[in-house]
Amino acid sequence: MANTPTPRVRLPAQAKSGELIEIKTLISHEMESGQRKDAAGKIIPRKIINKFVASFNGKVVFEAEWNPAISANPYQSFFYKAVESGEFTFTWKDDDGSDYVAKNKLTVA
């Protein structure tokens, strides 16, 4: 369970100019809410991914700020209007300061 979170991203590799594409992302993470107690009655400290950022060719296109109410292994989908070829960078920011990054290329025909 405590392995390094693995991001998974699904989006078309190619799109027509002006086409609306859906981007689906998933990352394995416990999203410990800070509300649960362990067997000894002590509160398990919060450790969640608090932010997800999607950028295209270095420009931020979509951002999500997650609260502890987001389920474990958080899923996020959103849309992007394809205009030019380039590369997506998806960044997940953890409470402990680490960043998890995934990159995907998009070719616009």
């Binding site: 369970m1 609306l20 809410s33 509300q35 649960r36 107690k37 362990d38 067997a39 295209f56 420009k59 931020v60 296109v61 979509f62 951002e63 999500a64 700020e65 997650w66 609260n67 502890p68 109410a69 987001i70 389920s71 474990a72 958080p74 899923y75 996020q76 989908s77 959103f78 849309f79 992007y80 209007k81 205009v83």
Partner: protein, 154 residues
């Protein structure tokens, strides 16, 4: 062994949530107070600005069998051009220990102001969604979700 431990705590979490649900039935004032918490959160963001209804499609299940994973989709009607787009969307829940669920920032590059995720709900409650347009107008939508705990799906 580890898996077993997780299942145990999960069961405990469900039991706790069950107690919380029961408490809400007995004392409806508690959920009313939480509604005020959501209102206070919105006030913190936008002050006393007028909030209109409409333009938001908030898609949540009427009945959620498992409060740990409840799908939520928000879709805001907008041309998403540089002049007129949806700037931000905030989603709150009035029956959770913390009111905030998620805040989105959209840009015209999105082409469509729509996003889906999965959330945790502690009990049956209302989901409140606020959308901020690029011209500053605010829109709101509400939906209620019945959370059945320990039901057939639990």
């Amino acid at each position: 062994m580890k898996l077993k431990a997780v299942a145990k705590t999960r069961r405990e979490a469900l039991a706790l949530a069950g107690i919380a649900g029961l408490a809400a039935l007995i004392a409806p004032r508690i959920s009313l107070a939480d509604e005020q918490v959501v209102a206070a959160e919105i006030k913190k963001l936008y002050g006393d600005k007028k909030i209109e209804s409409g333009r938001i499609k908030l898609d949540v299940p009427e009945i959620a069998e498992n409060g740990l994973v409840v799908p939520v989709t928000v879709d805001v009607e907008s041309p998403m051009t540089e002049q007129d787009y949806v700037k931000a969307v905030h989603i709150f829940a009035d029956g959770n220990p913390l009111p905030g669920i998620v805040s989105y920032k959209f840009t015209p590059a999105c082409g469509k102001a729509s996003a889906s995720t999965r959330m945790r709900l502690a009990q049956t409650q209302n989901i409140v969604c606020i959308a901020e347009m690029s011209n500053g107008n605010l829109h709101m939508a509400k939906a209620s979700v019945k959370v059945t705990i320990g039901g057939c799906g639990g």
